[in-house]
């Protein structure tokens, strides 16, 4: 593999990793607060459709982004009502909302645009346009690092940089702020928070809404960044890969970045079977690359590579007791 090809693959790695990263961080907030969320997929889909539709109608990607966030937050709130207020089964709620999202996105898109459940192709201001980072042009001449900066890091849509920025921000929120402290505490031992006189319910709703917002960003990027418009089931299991990445990352922000970059890299490789063949010398079947994130996650879950311990109170509705 030559350097130019590598740069191409790294470039698409970043693009493919972005929705995974946003969704993974989304799941991180919810699960850190003790609410399991296997409905990341549905929220992304909802956001992708809302963004695609509104961006197409208004011509502004930013209004589309707001719509996407609203759509995902709406679903997040339903999940919150089911799992926090009514203490329902969080796993079933997540599964159910994925189905609802899968269906309703097509219904809405079809009724709005009559294009077979897609939204019209987006272009111009209705998409996230590439941002050229400062000095990209000037530095491109520097050997090795120059092209890496100008071709891989520079030239992505705004959400890519927001996603990358969300990693240190999430780390900072989680470990340096009062909210983060309480969020982590409520996911580990809600009784500790309750006896300290803080509302468990309010904290968890807060977390669930943040999850909605980040899923909104992930979905918006799918529809208006990675692709130009919404299509049926366009997230294609990315919500579950993000979930896998979250487990792989052991619920930590920087690890989440690593995990999603790794999984994004697999996806990028899967798009270039020729490159793999030239590099390793034999055919690596594309499905094997597709399955790799899941296989790695199962290995992590089985505890063969250090133990992935989820937040202790995860999945359990909080009931006050002595």
């Amino acid at each position: 593999m030559d350097y130019a090809t590598l740069l191409q693959i790294l470039d698409s790695t970043i693009r493919l990793a972005t929705p995974l990263l946003l969704a993974c961080l989304a799941g991180l907030y919810s699960e850190r607060s003790g609410i399991f969320d296997i409905g990341l997929e549905g929220k992304m889909l909802m956001a992708a459709m809302s963004t695609g539709a509104v961006a197409a109608l208004t011509g502004s990607v930013w209004i589309g982004l707001l719509a996407g966030i609203s759509g995902a937050v709406l679903f997040a709130l339903v999940h919150g009502v089911a799992s926090i207020t009514f203490r329902g089964n969080q796993l079933i709620s997540g599964v159910a909302l994925n189905f609802v999202a899968s269906g309703i996105t097509v219904l809405i898109a079809q009724s709005l645009f009559r294009q077979g459940g897609r939204t019209p192709p987006l272009s111009g201001e209705a998409r996230f346009n590439p941002i050229t980072l400062p000095f990209a042009e000037a530095l491109s001449g520097v050997p090795i690092l120059g092209p890496l900066y100008s071709e891989v890091l520079s030239g992505h849509g705004a959400l890519v940089y927001i996603a990358l920025l969300a990693v240190p921000v999430t780390w900072w929120v989680l470990f340096r702020t009062r909210f983060g402290l309480r969020l982590r505490a409520v996911g580990e031992n809600p009784a500790s928070v309750d006896t300290a006189g803080i509302s468990v319910i309010r904290l968890r709703y807060g977390a669930v809404v943040i999850t909605g917002i980040l899923c909104g960003l992930a979905g918006a990027y799918m529809a208006a960044g990675l692709q130009a418009g919404f299509g049926k089931e366009m997230t294609a299991g990315r919500g579950y890969i993000a979930l896998a990445a979250l487990i792989f990352a052991k619920w930590r922000p920087w690890y989440a970045l690593m995990a999603t970059l790794l999984f994004g890299f697999f996806q990028a490789l899967a798009l270039r079977p020729d490159v793999i063949k030239n590099t390793v010398g034999f055919d690596v079947p594309v499905p094997a690359l597709d399955a790799l994130p899941y296989i790695l996650t199962v290995i992590v879950l089985a505890g063969f590579v250090g133990r992935a311990i989820p937040p202790r109170a995860g999945g359990e509705p909080y009931v006050k007791e002595r």
């Binding site: 702020t177 009062r178 402290l181 982590r184 006896t195």
Partner: protein, 545 residues
């Protein structure tokens, strides 16, 4: 103990930190607290003593805003105060150290201390401040804990210090500790008491909830005794004795009369040597038990709940694993391997009426007849053929059992949860007793059971004994132990404190043993073998009285 109550009331001259007036609290039909009034003077250590289930923890949870009292008033520092939630309690200067710590296991000490008491949106200043405050508190009260240590790596004693630090960091003037020494080693407990004395010297008020007489005598200034949801007495510690408190705690009910002939003990059925059990956290709960039971006798295990009785039943019943030797009918039982499960125990001739009827003994959603097969679902009599169970046969068997054990209503198809506690217990007893076991393990046979059923259950247990079977009875009801048993053993802290014939046992003597004490009252019980440990404890307390 009218005099005792009066003694408590006379102290109104001293400023009161806490005053409760007529607090009542019911959970459904269970009256956890009945018209409780209590006064705690500022700068004192006040003990609340009583058996498990006496309502101590409920009372303190009301004070901490975890439960709302049905009626009654709370006065803090003389001011009427409503405490709707924990935050209000914290504001009123109350801190609580729960029996089960409310700590975040993977947080550092500092993080746990500031949680909910942060100074701003950012942690750094709060942490810096807490680090300073903690250093001061550590100097002042002997509360040293490394501020950056992670909770799960700390010993239980240190975790408890973190709970105390949490309360002090929130400027608590009143500190409530619920059974604080239950999880501590003696050395840790001594340290805790030094801390509590320091707190008192600094003018803090301490409320200590415990069922251990030794602690009350050692550290408190005044003590209130609770029994079955009621406050039976409040006395100055200096004016009372462990014997008197034991009496107040256990109460002097009219002994239930169980018609029972003299036992005719036969061959040795069960022999236990150096039996030890560790819980999931690796804490030793049974610390080397030796005892034996003969055919045709009931051995009663007395003790305050949580002193190893549960573990004893569970290891014998094949629910948990242990080490040591257990010989049943000259056959050594497997305590750790493949046949250390409930099915093997049943095959070996052990039946088990567990203490926790609702979570172990039955499946509440199952019908009565399904529960009659529970644990015996592999019985050939319950099978139609190789593949299918004979539900008809189980149903018939259940009908007979319900009739013989007077279960009401005698409807086998009713779900277990629809029966009253007493009738549930009868179903379990019918299932276990009619197996005609060589050894019957029975825990808390009459807990939550109505009076009528109690007598019936007792008769059945005695009848099993009379048919030449061995019975191991565990109960926290001293009356029950005394009226049913032929021999009695007392457990304390995973040890046997003493064992001897039932007829020479006295309430006071047993009470002392249950509190881990020896002494004259226990030696007065003839034929009793008192553990040396009991007398050592006695000496170390230096009891007055």
């Amino acid at each position: 103990m009218k005099g005792g109550i009066a003694a408590g009331r006379q102290e109104t001259a001293a400023p009161l930190a806490i005053e409760l007036r007529g607090i009542s609290k019911a959970f459904g039909t269970v009256q956890a607290n009945k018209d409780i009034s209590i006064q705690v003077a500022k700068g004192t250590i006040h003990g609340i003593i009583g058996e498990n289930g006496a309502g101590k923890s409920t009372l303190m949870s009301i004070l901490y805003g975890f439960y709302k009292a049905d009626s009654g008033d709370i006065l803090i520092n003389g001011t009427p105060t409503t405490i709707p939630d924990s935050q209000a309690a914290i504001r009123a200067g109350i801190g609580m150290v729960f029996q089960h710590f409310k700590l975040v296991q993977n947080f550092s000490v500092l993080e746990n201390v500031i949680l909910g008491a942060e100074d701003g949106a950012l942690l750094r200043p709060s942490l810096a401040k807490a680090r300073k405050v903690l250093a001061d508190l550590a100097r002042e009260y002997e509360l040293e804990v490394h501020p950056d240590a992670v909770i799960e790596e700390l010993s239980v004693g240190h975790q408890q210090r973190v709970e105390i630090l949490k309360a002090l960091y929130r400027h608590a003037d009143i500190l409530i500790l619920d059974e604080p020494t239950g999880v501590l080693t003696p050395a840790e407990a001594d340290h805790l008491f030094r801390i509590l004395r320091n707190l008192k010297e600094q003018g803090k008020t301490v409320v200590l909830i415990t069922h251990k007489l030794r602690e009350i005598m050692e550290i408190t200034d005044t003590v209130s005794v609770m029994r079955r949801g009621e406050m039976t007495a409040t006395v100055r510690t200096a004016e009372t004795s462990p014997e008197q408190l034991a009496e107040l705690m256990v109460g002097r009910k009219v002994l239930l009369h169980v018609p029972k002939g003299t036992a005719k003990p036969g061959r040795r059925v069960l022999e236990i040597k150096d039996l030890r059990v560790r819980d999931v956290d690796g804490v030793e709960r049974l610390k080397g038990i030796d005892l034996s039971i003969r055919a045709g006798e009931i051995l009663g295990i007395a003790g305050v709940a949580g002193n190893g009785q549960t573990e004893l039943l569970q290891v014998l019943g094949g629910i948990t694993q242990g080490t040591g030797t257990v010989i049943l009918n000259d056959k050594s039982l497997d305590l750790t391997g493949k046949s250390s499960d409930g099915q093997s125990r049943r095959r070996d001739g052990i039946s088990h009426v567990p203490e926790d009827r609702q979570h172990l003994g039955m499946i509440m959603d199952f019908t009565a007849w399904e529960n009659v097969a529970f644990g015996y679902h592999n019985d050939p009599a319950y099978q139609k053929n190789r593949w299918l169970m004979d539900n008809g046969a189980i149903l018939e068997d259940t009908k007979g059992k319900m009739e013989r054990f007077d279960v009401r209503p005698p409807i086998p198809t009713l779900q277990a949860k629809s029966f009253s506690g007493g009738n549930q217990q009868k179903i379990i007893l019918a299932r276990e007793i009619e197996r005609n076991p060589d050894l019957l393990l029975v825990g808390q046979p009459t807990r939550g059971v109505d009076i009528g059923a109690i007598e019936f259950i007792h008769k059945r247990i005695v009848a099993l004994r009379d048919s030449g079977k061995a019975v191991l009875l565990v109960s926290v009801e001293l009356d029950e132990i005394m009226s049913l048993s032929d021999r009695i053993a007392v457990m304390f802290d995973g040890h046997l404190m003493g064992i001897g014939p039932a007829e020479s046992a006295t309430q006071v003597g047993l009470g002392c043993l249950m509190a881990g004490l020896g002494g004259a009252d226990t030696r007065a019980m003839s034929g009793w073998d008192i553990s040396a440990a009991a007398d050592e404890q006695r000496l170390s307390t230096g009891t007055r009285g």
